[in-house]
């Protein structure tokens, strides 16, 4: 069996429950669609669809201020919309956990996705976010759990980048 035949989302969702994630914010995205679906149908999680990704960074910061844990889900392009908003996370040292699905990285067919895809990790790191990248679906759940520990217990901003090898959705924009 090819490692790509297995989907990581159910296990990640279980980790969300274990860590007491109460808010999830996202702009709909193909690569994270199954996870978003699981969060949407989970009564313990308030999931919020955004008009633009930067809103999600602010919302998750607010969730922590209000005593809840949140997770921010975005496509790599969305990272480029959040860089300034992440300065609040850095200045306030707010525990922050994000999952990023990659475009413009692995077997990308749309040239326009490539500039941002190639800049995603650098933009996150320049914003003070610790970045871990998963190349195989089997890696994702454990990495998510470790990074949530780092975020919520270590009090840091952390992102798990799910590579396009895992999320590849073919030709579509």
């Amino acid at each position: 069996m090819n490692d790509l035949d297995w989907h990581w989302a159910d296990d990640v969702h279980q980790h969300f429950r274990h860590f007491g994630i109460a808010q999830v914010s996202y702009v709909p995205d193909g690569g994270l669609a199954k996870l978003i679906q699981l969060c949407n149908s989970d009564e313990t999680i308030r999931s919020v669809a955004l008009t633009t990704e930067e809103e999600g960074v602010a919302q998750i910061a607010g969730a922590w201020l209000g005593g809840q844990r949140g997770v921010f889900l975005t496509q790599s392009g969305g990272v480029g919309n959040c860089v300034n908003m992440l300065s609040m996370v850095a200045e306030c040292r707010i525990p922050f956990f994000a999952m990023v699905s990659m475009r413009g990285q692995w077997a990308e067919t749309i040239p326009w996705q490539i500039p941002m895809g190639q800049a995603t990790a650098a933009a996150l790191e320049a914003s003070g976010v610790i970045v871990h990248t998963a190349w195989s679906p089997q890696e994702v759940p454990e990495m998510v759990a470790a990074c949530m520990e780092l975020a919520f217990e270590g009090g840091r901003a952390v992102a798990v980048v799910v590579s396009q090898r895992i999320t590849a959705t073919g030709e579509r924009g």
Binding site: V27, P28, D29, G30, A33, I36, A49, T51, T52, G77, N81, I110, P111, W112, Q113, M116, E171, R172, G173
Partner: protein, 201 residues
Amino acid sequence: MSIAIPKITLARRPVVTKILESRKDELLITGLGAPTWDVASVSDHQNNFYLWGGMGGAVSTGLGLALAKPERRVLVFTGDGEMLMGLGSLATVAVQKPKNFAVIVLDNERYGETGMQKTATASGVDLSLVARGVGFHIARTIWTEDELSEAINEIYSAHGPVFYDVKVQPSDDPMVLPEKDGLTLKHRFQEELLGRKNYKV
């Protein structure tokens, strides 16, 4: 809210086809995703500039073009998700008041490229009211064939900026993929508009 919401009857491809039947030398900017495939499905054109990225930037790209070429009409075709991501750009357009500018949102109330999740327009956010709130001369929601027919004249000749939120059914039309190389799209667009000698680089 208990207001009766009209049923969506229009299909996106026929809407775009009908609007483009009246096209002459208008310049088109298309937002990423389905609006690009829709416009390409009618016919490719040197004056179509297809955005394949930069979500939220279609209206602003059209504004820059409209300001640079006041003698040519600029039409922006985009989707509701793309429009929502750059909502503030409507306010910026309304302040500039380009008279040669029309925005057409093909509003299927869904993010079509990522799995048809609902957008905010499915939950009561009214894009044409937003456009009116920021100060567009004309801002309408189009539900029917008749309203579309009436709007076409305005799209091409009314004093701009004008805005149309065309409610279309969520559908999965065959993809018609036009040129995607950005440099090629830029060069062919400018070649017609400016002539080879008048643009550099």
